[in-house]
């Protein structure tokens, strides 16, 4: 634990500062003040917006850390949202629906892994194929007039949910929303403090080294990409079941691609991806807030563009410093290059 804190000092200090700010703000202005309400509401919007993005970005992080570029996340989200919703409607249980969403993401992950790892197909093209297949299937088999048997329950984490501002935003929510936090922290830990993480980073950086150390590179890539699919499945399920109660054609609306930007923004670190997604959410939340408050006279479109422009600027300024896992995108062929 102490190690963990030491290694994630920035995040820990940042969290402490934010926490303190929230407490002070609440004490000074009062729980029911406009400013506290507004802050809470925008933060909640940001987090809601960010959840599928965080999950999807983590899919990208796991994939690339293992050496597989996944641009099929969009398709995984779409198909999972579809499967989750319709299975829930057909089975009468949102839980079975969520499970179906997760499994769909996983199966598509396995399919991508099969194409990229087994067949050594170009990874970008495999991802595009995945997206188009998902679009085809979900639009053809879409039927109207179904609805969820019930809402997804909302849970509260005792104690934590009582923290001013942050508590009700992050520690109150559906199972996937709460699970996302667990996944972020878990992945930070797993990637940098476990055997799995060490090996995953090794196969994404220098697979032949891992191979000679006795690690089955392709098997591990296959498993990682497949299991990461569960997170893509969660991103889909959260869209069609937790955050709304319906499926729509094209519902993923570019979130899978945005997640890739977030992954890069986060420099392939799960923790940073979390904050990057939150930042995008904040931008989006602020855009509609400014629209509603009519405070500034900037056309709404420009505010909405801000995150994208900022991403471009940050990427071009930081381009020299962020570097992807060296072997990401490259199929591994045993016995070559060693």
């Amino acid at each position: 634990m102490t190690d963990f804190i030491r290694n994630n000092r920035v995040a820990v200090i940042g969290a402490a500062v934010v926490l303190l700010a929230c407490i002070v703000l609440t004490l000074v202005a009062g729980t029911d003040s406009d400013i506290v309400r507004k802050t809470t509401s925008i933060l909640r919007f940001a987090w809601t917006f960010a959840i599928p993005l965080v999950l999807a970005a983590l899919v990208g992080v796991i994939g690339e850390r293992s050496g597989v570029v996944n641009i099929g996340i969009e398709g995984q989200i779409l198909a999972s949202a579809f499967a989750g919703f319709f299975v829930a409607a057909a089975s009468g249980s949102v839980w079975i629906g969520i499970l179906a969403g997760l499994l769909t993401g996983m199966v598509m992950g396995a399919f991508l892994a099969w194409l990229c790892v087994r067949l050594r197909m170009d990874q970008i093209i495999a991802g595009v194929v995945l997206n188009i297949v998902a679009t085809g299937i979900t639009s053809f088999y879409y039927v109207q007039g179904k609805s969820l048997p019930s809402g997804v329950p909302v849970w509260e984490v005792p104690l934590l949910s009582k923290i001013p501002i942050i508590g009700p935003v992050f520690f109150r929510g559906g199972p996937i929303a709460l699970g996302t936090l667990v996944v972020v922290v878990g992945l930070v830990f797993a990637l940098f403090h476990t055997r799995w993480g060490l090996r995953t980073r090794a196969i994404g950086e220098y697979p032949t080294a891992a191979d000679t150390a006795g690690i089955n590179v392709n098997l591990m890539r296959f498993v990682n990409v497949t299991m990461a699919g569960l997170l893509a499945g969660a991103a889909g399920a959260v869209l069609s079941m937790e955050q709304s109660s319906t499926f729509e054609r094209g519902m993923s609306a570019g979130k899978g691609f945005l997640a890739l930007a977030i992954m890069i923004f986060g420099a392939w670190f799960p923790g940073r991806a979390f904050f990057a997604a939150l930042f995008f959410g904040l931008m989006s939340g602020l855009a509609s807030q400014l629209q509603a408050d009519k405070v500034v006279n900037i056309p709404q479109q420009f505010i909405n563009l801000l995150p994208f422009v900022l991403t471009l600027i940050i990427l071009s300024v930081a381009a020299g410093r962020v570097r992807p896992p060296a072997a990401s995108g490259q199929p591994f062929v045993k016995g070559e290059g060693s």
Binding site: R37, K38, T40, S41, F49, G145, G151, Q243, S245, M251
Partner: protein
């Protein structure tokens, strides 16, 4: 098109009465205007013996004309085109096919520009009136004096609903606050329920206690979210749009007081019957708009509020009251 109409006489023959419908980029079961229009067609088919119907769903907005042509080629008697965006395609087709009758839903005919087209009825609805009545109701139900609107794309029908709602609310109490948010433009402005839900939650967090969701699936997402709020149906309410959403969005029943409706089905069916009965006039036709039933909320809405709302509805209809909504 996908209908189960019994094999009847060949369209174009004297015994046949064929009705075709072209959707705006969307499906006939979209729980929104396409569906309402199609229900209107079906109601008419039921009422007119020997009639039959078919639809074609538009996937590319550039295909409006081609999709209309499917029906005119087959000598259909009536072609219903749904949505504001098809105005020009419909007018052109109507001019080219004087023997076919057209019903254009949400399509206002600017007679100064296009002249009178006798075989086309441009069916529009006073959305601002429905919105106004809903706004009055919302303002009267609100304890916090904060209302919210979660809207789809900023296009005429949506804007008329929204401005009407705000005007209605302000007519009750000028200090009432209405939080108004349109979906940030994009191809999914009407199909982004997750955004609608998050936006509704934001408005709830900012003390809004009645939320008007108007924008296809995006609005429905907002309604669904309000229904999940604690106090939904007691101190927190939502209002639907277009059709009686009590039936189409069951997950919102917990908060859904009423819906600001435009009676597309009824208007469509009436026009088709008029065509059959040869009483069809063409030109601009104004359909009906108003509030849906209260359903389960009938007992919860105070009688004085109901009375006030009914009076507003009546006054709007008679012209005694103007919404004052102007677009542009």
């Amino acid at each position: 098109g996908g209908t189960a109409a019994a094999p009847a006489a060949e369209c174009g023959t004297a015994d046949a009465f064929c009705i075709g419908l072209v959707t705006d980029s969307g499906k006939v079961d979209d729980k929104s205007f396409n569906q309402s229009a199609w229900e209107g067609v079906q109601a008419a088919v039921k009422a007119i013996p020997g009639s039959q119907s078919k639809y074609v769903e538009t996937t590319d907005t550039k295909d409006y004309a081609a999709n209309i042509k499917q029906f005119t080629d087959k000598k259909y008697n009536v072609v219903v085109t749904v949505g504001f965006l098809m105005t020009e395609a419909t007018q052109a087709a109507a001019k080219a096919n004087p023997n076919v009758k057209f019903i254009g839903i949400d399509q206002f005919q600017d007679t100064a520009k296009v002249g009178e087209i006798a075989n086309l009825a441009g069916l529009t609805f006073p959305e601002d009136q429905a919105g106004y009545a809903a706004g009055v109701l919302a303002a009267k139900l609100s304890k916090t004096k904060v209302l919210g609107q979660v809207l789809g794309m900023q296009i005429a029908p949506v804007e008329k609903f929204a401005k009407g709602f705000e005007a209605g609310a302000k007519s009750v109490a000028s200090d009432i606050k209405v939080i108004t948010v349109y979906h940030p433009a994009g191809d999914n402005a009407f199909t982004d329920p997750a955004w609608g839900a998050a936006e509704a939650q934001k408005q709830l967090d900012q003390k809004a206690d009645v939320i008007f969701g108007a924008g296809g699936k995006t609005g429905n997402g907002a309604l669904g979210q309000v229904a999940k709020a604690s106090g939904a149906g007691e101190s927190i309410f939502c209002i639907g749009v277009d059709t009686d959403q009590w039936n189409t969005v069951p997950e919102a029943q917990k908060c859904l007081v009423t819906s600001a409706m435009k009676l597309i089905s009824e208007g469509t069916a009436d026009q088709i019957k008029a065509i059959k009965g040869a009483t069809f006039k063409g030109g601009n036709v104004t359909g009906k708009a108003g509030l849906a039933e209260y359903h389960a909320f009938d007992s919860k809405v105070p009688a004085d509020v109901k009375d006030a709302v009914s009076k507003v509805v009546a006054d709007l209809k008679s012209g005694a009251l103007q919404t004052g909504v102007k677009l542009g």
